[in-house]
C-alpha cells in the first residue's frame, strides 16, 4: 500500500466526518423554527424539577454561542464535538448527556450487527460459491432463488415474521428485549442462556436477509472466476476439487465481495437500527426511536453522527485491510 493512498484515504475519512458534523450543525439552523432553541426552552421549563437546570441551560446557551454570528457558532460547535466529545443534553433523560445514552447502547448494536454480518458473510459466500460450482446439484442451485425475496426487502420485515412464528405461534423464543424480566443478570449459565435466547431472532432476521444478498453476488463472481484459464490449468494439473474450489476459485471470487461489504456497511447499520425497534432491543436504534418520539434533538443528532462515524470507520478498515487480501494491489 503506497503512502499517498493511505494519506488520501485518511483524508477522505476526515472529510466525511467534517461533512457529517457540518450537516448536523446546518440542518437545524435552516429550519424556520430552530429545534435547538425549542429544546433549550423545554430544558428551561424543567428548572423546577431538576436541580441546577437553570444554570445548565444558561451555560449551554453560552457554549453553543447562540447569540454569536453563525461562523463563530459553527467553530464552537466543532470544538464542542471534537475536542470535548459533547453532543449536548438529553431532554427526555435530563440531565444525562446524549453521548452517554448512545455510548451505553453502542456495544449492543455493534455486537448484534457484527455477529449477524459475520454469519451472513461466511454463509452467503460459501453458499454462492457452491451454487456456481459445476458439480453442484440443481436443488442446491435453486435454493438461491428462494433467498432472493429476502435480499430485496428490509430486515425488519423478516424480523416481524420470525417473531410471529417463533415467539407467538411456536412460543419457543422470547418476544423482545434482552433479558427475561425479573431474572438476575449475572455471569451464570442461566443468565447467559437467557441472553442468547433473546438474541437468536434479532441476529437471525439480519443474517438471513444478508445471506441471500451475499450468495447472489458470490455466485456471479465465482462463475466468472471459474471460467478463467488458470482454473482449467489447475484442474488439468490434477489438483483435487477441494483445493481448486477454495484456493483457486473462492479466494479470487471473494475479492469483489470485500469491496461490496465496504459499500454495504451503511445499509447494514441503518437497516439494523430499524430491526432493533421491532425487537425492543436496547441498542442505538431503540435510543433513536425513543428520542424521535420525545423530540430529543441532541440525541437524534448524536445517533446520526454515530451512524456516519460507524460507516466511515468500517469502510476505512476494510479499505486498509484490502491490500492484505489482494497482493496485486500491494505491489502497485
Amino acid at each position: 500500500m503506497s503512502r499517498s493512498y493511505l494519506v488520501q484515504r485518511l483524508g477522505s475519512f476526515a472529510a466525511t466526518i467534517v461533512i457529517a458534523a457540518t450537516l448536523n450543525f446546518l440542518i437545524p439552523r435552516l429550519a424556520p423554527q430552530d429545534p435547538i432553541a425549542a429544546l433549550l426552552n423545554r430544558m428551561d421549563s424543567k428548572r423546577g424539577l431538576v436541580d441546577g437546570a437553570e444554570q445548565l441551560v444558561a451555560q449551554y446557551r453560552e457554549t453553543l454561542g447562540l447569540n454569536d454570528p453563525l461562523p463563530v457558532q459553527y467553530l464552537k460547535y466543532l470544538e464542542n464535538l471534537f475536542l470535548h466529545g459533547d453532543f449536548g443534553y438529553s431532554i427526555a433523560y435530563f440531565p444525562n448527556h446524549a453521548g452517554d445514552l448512545i455510548l451505553r447502547a453502542i456495544p449492543w448494536t455493534v455486537g448484534l450487527l457484527a455477529v449477524a454480518t459475520l454469519i451472513a458473510f461466511v454463509g452467503g459466500n460459501l453458499l454462492g460459491a457452491i451454487a456456481a460450482w459445476p458439480r453442484t446439484s440443481n436443488v442446491m442451485r435453486r435454493l438461491i432463488y428462494a433467498s432472493m425475496p429476502l435480499s430485496v426487502v428490509p430486515y425488519y420485515f423478516l424480523a416481524l415474521i420470525l417473531l410471529q412464528v417463533f415467539a407467538i405461534n411456536l412460543k419457543v423464543l422470547p418476544l423482545g428485549g434482552v433479558f427475561t424480566v425479573g431474572t438476575s443478570r449475572g455471569f451464570d449459565v442461566q443468565s447467559i442462556l437467557d441472553l442468547v435466547s433473546h438474541l437468536v431472532l434479532p441476529v437471525l432476521s439480519i443474517a438471513l436477509a444478508l445471506t441471500g444478498f451475499w450468495a447472489l453476488s458470490m455466485r456471479g463472481s465465482m462463475a466468472t472466476v471459474l471460467g478463467q484459464p488458470h482454473l482449467t490449468y489447475a484442474r488439468a494439473k490434477g489438483l483435487r476439487d477441494r483445493r481448486v474450489f477454495v484456493r483457486y476459485g473462492m479466494r479470487n471470487a471473494m475479492l469483489p465481495q470485500w469491496t461490496a461489504l465496504a459499500l454495504e456497511v451503511g445499509s447494514i447499520i441503518t437497516g439494523g437500527l430499524i430491526a432493533e425497534i421491532v425487537f425492543s432491543y436496547p441498542g442505538v436504534g431503540m435510543v433513536l426511536f425513543t428520542a424521535l418520539r420525545t423530540a430529543d434533538y441532541f440525541v437524534i443528532q448524536g445517533v446520526v453522527m454515530f451512524v456516519i462515524l460507524g460507516v466511515a470507520t468500517a469502510t476505512l478498515a476494510i479499505d486498509l485491510l484490502y491490500p492484505l487480501l489482494d497482493p496485486r494491489i500491494r505491489l502497485q
Binding site: I19, V152, G220
Partner: protein, 293 residues
C-alpha cells in the same frame, strides 16, 4: 445475473424481440407483479373508502372475516381499505423522489461527463463525498427537523439523496460516449452542445436511465418506509409505512394481531421484488456483457 447457472457462450447475435426476452427472463414476471400493484393502487384511488377507514368503522382489533377480509386495527379501521389507500401513496413517494433524483442526477451527470474540467471536479467531489454518507442517516436528521406533513413533501425529502447515484452512473457513461466517433463527427460538423447532448448522447443513455429510474424508485420507497417506521412519515396521509408504524407502536406483534402488520409487508415484498426483477432485466439490456454472469 439471474439467467442460467453458468456463464454460457453469448447467444448468437439475434435482432428479434424474442432474443431480447430470452436474455431477460425476469422481465415478464416483474411486469406482471407491477401490473398487479398498479391495479391495486388504481382501485385505492378510484373507490371511495372513507367509510371503511373511519374510526370505529368495524370492531376493534378483529381478525380477518367476511366483512373485513384483512381484519381491523386498534381504532376499528378496515386494514384492507388502509392497504388500498396506502399503496398508491407509497408508490407516489417513490415516483416523485425517483423521478426527481434521476432528472437532477442526469442533468448533473451529463454536465460533469460531457463538459469535464472544473464542473466535473465540483460535481464529482460532491457525489463522491455524498455517497460515503448513508442516506437514511441524513434523511432522519432532515425529517426530524422539518416535520413532513404530506406524501408529496416526503417525496421531496427523499429526493434530496436520490440524485447522487444516477449522477455517478450517467457521468461515467457520458464520458465514454463523448469520445465516440459519432459524437466527434457531430462536433466537427459544427453542432452545438445542446444538439450533441440532447440528440446524440441522451438517446444512447435511455437504457441506463430506465434502469436508474427503477433503482431510484425502489430505494426511495425503501428510505421512505424506513423513515415512516421511525415515526418520521407524513402526518396526514396513509402509507404502507405508516400502517406499520402504528402497528409497531401499538405492539401489534406482541399482542398477536398479525393481520394488522402482515398485509402491508406482503404488499411491499411484492413491490420490491417486482422492481428488483425489472431492474435485473433492464440491467441486462443496458450492459450486454453482464448477461449470464
Amino acid at each position: 445475473m439471474m439467467t442460467g447457472d453458468m456463464p454460457k457462450a453469448a447467444a448468437p447475435a439475434g435482432s428479434g424481440w424474442r432474443d431480447r426476452f430470452a436474455n431477460t427472463p425476469t422481465l415478464l414476471p416483474g411486469i406482471a407483479m407491477l401490473a398487479l400493484v398498479l391495479g391495486i393502487s388504481i382501485a385505492g384511488v378510484v373507490v371511495n373508502l372513507s367509510d371503511r377507514i373511519a374510526v370505529m368503522a368495524g370492531p376493534v382489533n378483529a381478525p380477518p372475516s367476511l366483512n373485513f377480509p384483512l381484519g381491523t386495527q386498534r381504532e376499528g379501521r378496515d386494514v384492507l381499505a388502509l392497504l388500498l389507500l396506502g399503496t398508491p401513496n407509497t408508490l407516489r413517494i417513490g415516483l416523485i423522489a425517483g423521478g426527481l433524483g434521476v432528472s437532477v442526477g442526469t442533468l448533473l451527470g451529463l454536465t460533469a461527463g460531457y463538459l469535464g474540467g472544473r464542473a466535473d471536479w465540483v460535481i464529482r467531489s460532491l457525489v463522491d463525498a455524498g455517497l460515503t454518507i448513508p442516506p437514511l442517516a441524513v434523511l432522519i436528521l432532515i425529517a426530524a427537523t422539518f416535520r413532513v406533513v404530506t406524501v408529496e413533501a416526503m417525496g421531496l425529502v427523499v429526493a434530496l439523496t436520490a440524485w447522487m447515484y444516477p449522477a455517478r452512473v450517467i457521468r461515467s457513461q457520458a464520458m465514454t460516449l463523448r469520445e465516440r466517433t459519432f459524437v466527434q463527427v457531430a462536433k466537427l460538423s459544427g453542432a452545438g452542445v445542446g444538439h450533441i447532448v440532447g440528440r446524440e448522447i441522451l438517446p444512447n443513455l435511455i437504457p441506463f436511465l430506465a434502469a436508474g429510474f427503477v433503482g431510484a424508485v425502489s430505494s426511495a420507497m425503501l428510505m421512505s418506509v424506513g423513515l415512516e417506521i421511525l415515526g418520521l412519515g407524513s402526518q396526514r396521509d396513509i402509507t404502507l409505512g405508516s400502517i406499520l408504524y402504528t402497528a409497531i407502536l401499538n405492539a401489534a406483534v406482541f399482542r398477536g394481531l398479525w393481520w394488522w402488520w402482515l398485509s402491508p409487508i406482503v404488499m411491499m415484498v411484492v413491490i420490491f421484488l417486482a422492481l428488483f426483477l425489472l431492474s435485473v432485466a433492464l440491467d441486462a439490456y443496458a450492459n450486454p456483457q453482464r448477461r449470464g454472469s
